[in-house]
Symmetry: C2
Subunit: 154 residues, 2 copies
């Protein structure tokens, strides 16, 4: 394959993209079959959201005016899963002298509440394989440890 | 901890947030120590980028005018790792009759090139634990399988 070219998708590419997304053994039941040359309205809306929606904040937990925890909450509209918007969580921290007191649980629940309120249908995050206590923490919050996380420094 | 309140961080919270980010056994060497009540300029710039930068596109690979592969490429500015901007890759697909011909490799390399050009210092993605061939594919591209990926449907 030496003749490949690359470009950013436009509105007119949606039929081809959704067909590709559905052409996958794990994902085929997640997508909506494409009729003729058209595409479901949910994908059209999701594509517009990719171009316009922007949500990227640090959420803080405070106690008596002191910042005691934080996490980064990002909403990412996309086409997969019938145009699902996903929330991505990064940089979860609780101040060291208050760990083990459910600050992290409350913070994550607030993040999940905001994600749901913002129209997200999925929340996802990665956790270093060495953080065994964190993995238990996320499973208790109802997360499924279904993926591996890959990173590459540039 | 019943007196917790939650709010979105503003510019004046940066000192507290960076202190929290550094207060972690795995991340402490990634952050820059905070001087007095101030914060390094890289964090100020990163915070501004979180508020304003927006990049969320489907990247397509074409061959002879046919869309043969796609991936979603999202740039996420953040405060961790000294204000690193990370690229997140989702929904990687290659059309079924052209798999095994390095279309995915070329597509990922183009995504990495765009991420680097866009100022990202990290590329990350998650892959379902059942996709053993995909894991090998990402490791061959120089990714480290260092994390677990957690998802929760809302």
């Amino acid at each position: 394959m030496s003749d490949l070219t690359f470009r950013t998708a436009g509105r007119d590419d949606l039929h081809a993209v959704v067909s590709l997304l559905a052409d996958d053994e794990l994902a085929e039941n997640r997508e909506k079959p494409v009729d003729g040359a058209g595409v479901g309205e949910e994908y059209v809306k999701a594509f517009a959201a990719m171009e316009t929606e922007h949500y990227n904040h640090m959420l803080l937990a405070e106690s008596d005016g002191r910042v005691v925890g934080c996490l980064q909450l990002v909403f990412v509209p996309g086409l997969s899963r019938r145009g699902a918007k996903r929330a991505i969580v990064e940089s979860v921290r609780v101040v060291s002298d208050l760990r083990g007191k459910n600050v992290g649980t409350a913070l994550m629940k607030e993040a999940i509440r905001r994600a749901r309120e913002g129209g997200c249908t999925l929340v996802q995050l990665t956790s270093d394989t060495r953080r065994a206590r964190a993995h238990l923490f996320y499973r208790r919050l109802g997360f499924t440890q279904s993926h591996f996380g890959f990173k590459k420094e540039l």
